[in-house]
């Protein structure tokens, strides 16, 4: 099993490299097209002969890209923070105490796996509308302020936290609140950070709900602004690819820096 002929190993790497190309080629083509000028965009050249940035300048004049990027960051950070806060508290309660109704709580949490967003979108839309939050960032954030996925993930990680430490802290007279904030949270930082990254990426890529709520480009996250642009301007492929490139850059940068942690957090927590 461990001694392979060079030919076998060569074939194996060849296949994997081919698959890697398939995985990232669309991204390359996006970048390549975004740098081509008007006459070159409709050719299949692998490199732009004369790279131009006119597509980017056009895209920036057509859409408030900076504003939309800010919206995306604001929405994603708010969602992530709220989800982490609510799930830290809830997971702590579930790990720390035995209490009446714990089974019911778990049932409530687990059952949300069966609720697709499409089956709750109408009442949520009506509520956000009634609150006057249609076409606002807060309206996008609110329904995603709690994540059962985050609660159950943290619950699992907290369970492996040594109970002896908690008991010792209790004997030292630490309050329940400081056991959470001064003992458990500092010692599970990396887990919480991984979960935060994951929730940030999910929030950044959220589709259906922001699409329903964001009506104007000024109040839209990047993705939704891009969607409006794609659907309005069908033949400006150069600038469309430029705008798409811009929308991918933040996430790709985060991935480049935190690759290990991102992959680990997906493995640890899965997806929802």
């Amino acid at each position: 099993m461990f001694h392979r002929s060079p030919i076998q190993s060569f074939a194996r790497h060849g296949m994997l490299v081919l698959l890697c190309v398939l995985a990232v080629f669309p991204l390359y083509w996006m970048l390549n097209s975004s740098l081509k000028n008007e006459s070159e965009i409709f050719t299949s050249s692998i490199f732009p002969h004369k790279p131009v940035f006119s597509n980017y300048t056009y895209a920036f004049t057509q859409m408030p890209i900076v504003r939309m990027a800010f919206n995306s960051f604001a929405v994603s950070i708010m969602m992530t923070m709220l989800q982490l806060a609510t799930s830290l508290l809830a997971a702590y309660a579930l790990v720390r105490w035995r209490f009446r109704g714990k089974g019911v709580i778990f049932a409530i949490l687990s059952l949300t796996w069966l609720i697709p967003f499409q089956s709750i979108m109408i009442p949520n839309y009506v509520l956000v509308n009634d609150l006057g939050l249609n076409d606002t960032l807060l309206g996008i954030v609110l329904p995603f302020s709690v994540s059962t996925f985050a609660i159950l993930s943290l619950y699992q990680s907290f369970q492996s936290f040594p109970g002896v430490l908690i008991e010792a802290a209790q004997i030292d007279g630490m309050s329940d609140w400081s056991i959470l904030t001064r003992l458990i949270i500092p010692n599970t930082r990396s887990t919480i950070a991984s979960l935060g990254i994951l929730q940030f990426i999910n929030a950044w890529n959220e589709y259906l709900w922001p699409m329903l709520i964001a009506k104007s480009m000024n109040h839209a996250p990047l993705q939704i602004g891009l969607r409006l642009f794609v659907n309005s301007d069908t033949n400006m492929w150069g600038s469309l690819m430029a705008a798409t490139t811009v929308s991918c850059v933040p996430i790709l940068l985060i991935y480049l820096i935190l690759r290990r942690q991102i992959v680990d957090s997906f493995v640890r927590f899965g997806i929802k």
């Binding site: 994997l16 609510t86 890529n205 891009l226 493995v267």
Partner: protein
């Protein structure tokens, strides 16, 4: 418990009653504490998940256009009857099954092979490959759709250009307006995005397999294919069932964005799925009742499927203890 304590201790210690009481109220507070910590999460879940779910079930039996100022009217089972006479809805069920089954190779078969192939490489190249496969997973559906729409563009797309150049097709194909192609393209894009994630999940599951099984098997003369069938697959079965559950429950949500971005369900409803139809009933036809009826129906259907899969997992998944 605390009540009896109060009765036994309080009378004998006249001066100590206040302390005892304070301690008791602290104890009572302690009993409420877990609920206090759970309150934000449970309150928000009730407002944004369970209240709307129940409201949707209520709306399933009402007729309502969601126009402000109007209110729902009770219509009994009318919405369900309309649902089963709605051709686009019936078609969408077929497509949903198509997507669900079609995604299985991308979420289970290919990733399992990739995970096994990369498993025994040195960690540098292993991590490189896995990191590359993973990139599509983190990209936003809108960006992904924009790129693929350009690649599959009917007259100027790279895919058509290459296929014509290689003489595989004579005329460029309009992929997104051809009923025969549209849903295949959507399946392909969704699958392309999923492979990296599943590969990493299977890789993680593989690292927990005890190497001694393979050594024993190869000493007994089992080749690598037989080792894969008799050792790897049984030990990966919990992960296989997990990915199967995820695929079945979520594939309709994974394809949603691509359907909306690339074909809006067309041509002639050939690429739509049930969740997209629910969205269209609600926000294009303004028929909240019909959308809610579909939601209620599929909540029950997926609930039963999840229950079944849970039972399968208990019965067949093989755990190495």
């Amino acid at each position: 418990m605390s009540q009896s304590l109060d009765n036994t201790i309080a009378p004998s210690l006249s001066g100590g009653t206040i302390i005892v009481r304070r301690r008791l109220s602290k104890k009572k507070l302690r009993r409420f504490k877990p609920y206090l910590y759970l309150l934000p999460a449970v309150a928000l879940l009730s407002i944004w998940m369970y209240r709307p779910l129940l409201y949707t079930f209520y709306l399933a039996f009402q007729k309502w256009s969601m126009v402000p100022g109007t209110s729902p009217v009770f219509v009994g089972f009318d919405n369900f009857e309309h649902l089963f006479h709605n051709k686009s809805f019936i078609d969408s069920i077929g497509n949903t099954i198509f997507y669900t089954v079609g995604l299985l190779p991308f979420s289970i078969l290919i990733p399992m092979i990739l995970a096994v192939v990369t498993d025994r490489m040195e960690s540098k190249s292993k991590n490189f490959y896995r990191a590359m496969f993973f990139i599509p997973m983190i990209l936003a559906p809108v960006s992904v759709s924009a790129i693929w729409r350009w690649l599959f563009h009917p007259s100027n797309g790279l895919v058509n250009y290459l296929l014509v150049k290689l003489h595989l097709i004579k005329e460029p194909i309009a992929y997104f307006s051809d009923p025969g192609f549209a849903k295949w393209i959507i399946l392909l894009i969704t699958g392309w995005k999923m492979i990296g994630f599943s590969t990493i999940m299977f890789s993680a599951a593989l690292t927990s397999i005890n190497r001694e099984y393979y050594e024993a098997a190869s000493q007994d003369g089992a080749g690598s294919f037989r080792q894969f069938v008799h050792i790897t697959i049984p030990l990966l079965s919990p992960m296989i069932i997990f990915m199967l559950t995820m695929s079945i429950l979520f594939s309709s949500q994974w394809t949603f964005a691509y359907i909306d971005m690339l074909t809006t369900g067309g041509p002639y409803g050939s690429s739509t799925n049930i969740y997209y139809e629910m969205y269209r009933f609600a926000f294009s036809s303004l028929n909240a009742g019909l959308s809610s009826a579909a939601a209620l129906l599929f909540f029950v259907v997926f609930g039963l499927i999840a229950l079944g899969l849970n039972m399968v997992s208990r019965k067949f998944a093989f755990y190495d203890n």
